[in-house]
Symmetry: C2
Subunit: 240 residues, 2 copies
C-alpha cells in the first residue's frame, strides 16, 4: 500500500504526527503537499468537495486506496494496526486512541498560546494576550498534561518504557513529537519542568534513538521547527 | 449491557453528546455524576489512577463492563455500532469519526470564546479578551464550521437529511447539540447566520422531533444550559 499524506508544505504542523508513524514503520508514502508544485491545489480539491463527496474539514488527511481519513487521531488509529504500531486487543486500541485524543487537546492548547484571540489575527496583534495565556499555560496546563503522561507511564503494569502495553506504539511517537516541540518553543520552561517528568523524558530519548526515527530526524524530510507551525519559539512567551 | 457515564454533575457539558446517543437508542445507563452523592468521588478515583491503571485525563468517560473509554469522539465511536448509530462499513465509520472530531474542535473553540486566556481564570477577569475573541469567532469561525456541515449535507449523495450515508447517526445527534448550544449562547448571531445553513437547521429540527429525543428533552434528565457549561449566554459576547 502506498499512502498519500495531504498536509500543508513547509511546516511540521499536525502532519508531523502522521509522518512520524509512517517513517517509524518504513511505510511507502508520498508527502503530497511537500512533493509537488501542485500540492496545495490538490489539497484544495479535497477541501472544496471536488475530489470527494466526503470532504475533510482541514489537513492533514490520508489517502489509502479509495479511503480518505481525516484528523490526526483518526489517521493514526487507522494506520496503527496496518503499521504494527498498536496492540491487537480492542481495549488497548481504545486506550491508545484516548491517549492520542488527549495529545490532540494538548496540541490545540499549545497552538492557542500564541493565538489566544483567533488564528486569523497575526501573533503581533495579540502578543499581550499571548503573554498572559503563556504564563497560565506554562504554570498550569503544561505540568498538568506532562504529569498525566508521567502518571500513565508509572501506572502501566506492563512497562514504564511505553504508554500502551509492552511495546512501542504510535502514541509514543506523538508524545515524543510534543516533547520535542515544547523544548523548541519553551526551552526555559521545559528546563524547569522536565526533571519532574523523568519517564516522559526517557521515552522521548528512546524514541529519538529508534533507527528509523534517527534516520528520519537526520534527513531533509524532517522540516525544521519554525514560527509558522504549532510549536513556535517566541522568547517573550517563555519563562524560567 | 448497562453503561455507566462518568461526567460532572449539574452541567450538560461534553457529557451531553454521550447522553444524547444513549437516550436516542433507549440504552440502559447510569449517569454516575448526577445520580449519586458520591458521583464526584467516584470520578476522582478514576482520574487519580485508584480505580484503573489506565486513568482518563478528564470526564466524560464511559464504563461498559470492564472497558473504560474516554473522550467524547472515542466513546461515540465505541457506542455507535452497539447502539446502531453508525453504518456498518469501515469507510463510513472513519468518515463519521472524522466528522465527530471536527465537532470536537468546534466545541473547543466555542468554549474558548468565553475563556480565551485560560480556563483557570474567571470569565469576568478575561471579559475584554473574550469580546475580541467572540467577534472573530462569530464572524469567521462559526460560519466556517456551520458552512462545512452544510456542505457535507449538500454533497451526501445518499441523503440531504443526515450527515453519514442514508440513516441517522450519532454525528447528527452531536450536530443537533452544537446548534442548540449555539442558539442558547449566541441567539442574535445565530438569527443572522442560520438562514444560510438551511440543511443544518433542518437536521437539528428533525433530531429534536425524534420520539426518544423529544421525550428526553422534555424530561428532568435534560439539564438546562447554564453559565457553567461549554455553551454560555453572555449577552455582551453576542452580536447582530
Amino acid at each position: 500500500m502506498r499512502y498519500e499524506l495531504y498536509y500543508w508544505p513547509t511546516i511540521q504542523g499536525r502532519g508531523e504526527f502522521v509522518r512520524l508513524a509512517l517513517e517509524d514503520a518504513g511505510a511507502d508514502y508520498e508527502d503530497v503537499g511537500n512533493q509537488a508544485d501542485a500540492g496545495i491545489t490538490e489539497i484544495s480539491y479535497y477541501l472544496e468537495g471536488q475530489a470527494t463527496v466526503r470532504p475533510p474539514f482541514a489537513p492533514p488527511f490520508l489517502k489509502a486506496g479509495e479511503t480518505v481519513v481525516s484528523h490526526v487521531a483518526n489517521i493514526l488509529q487507522f494506520l496503527g494496526p496496518r503499521l504494527a504500531l498498536v496492540p491487537d486487543d480492542e481495549q488497548s486500541r481504545l486506550w491508545a486512541h484516548g491517549l492520542q485524543l488527549t495529545l490532540t487537546d494538548f496540541v490545540a492548547e499549545i497552538h492557542d498560546v500564541h493565538h489566544p484571540l483567533g488564528a486569523s489575527l497575526y501573533y503581533e496583534d495579540q502578543q499581550a494576550e499571548a503573554r498572559q495565556r503563556a504564563a497560565l499555560f506554562l504554570d498550569e496546563r503544561l505540568p498538568k498534561f506532562l504529569g498525566y503522561f508521567e502518571q500513565v507511564l508509572e501506572l502501566n503494569p506492563e512497562s514504564e518504557a511505553c504508554l500502551v502495553g509492552v511495546a512501542h506504539s504510535y502514541v509514543d511517537l506523538s508524545l515524543f513529537q510534543v516533547v520535542s516541540g515544547l523544548r523548541y518553543a519553551f526551552p526555559r520552561a521545559m528546563a524547569r519542568h522536565e526533571e519532574a517528568f523523568a519517564r516522559v523524558s526517557e521515552l522521548a530519548r528512546r524514541v529519538a534513538e529508534r533507527p528509523s526515527i534517527a534516520a528520519y530526524l537526520a534527513s531533509s524530510r524532517r522540516l525544521p521547527f519554525n514560527e509558522s507551525g504549532v510549536f513556535r519559539h517566541y522568547p517573550e512567551l517563555d519563562t524560567d
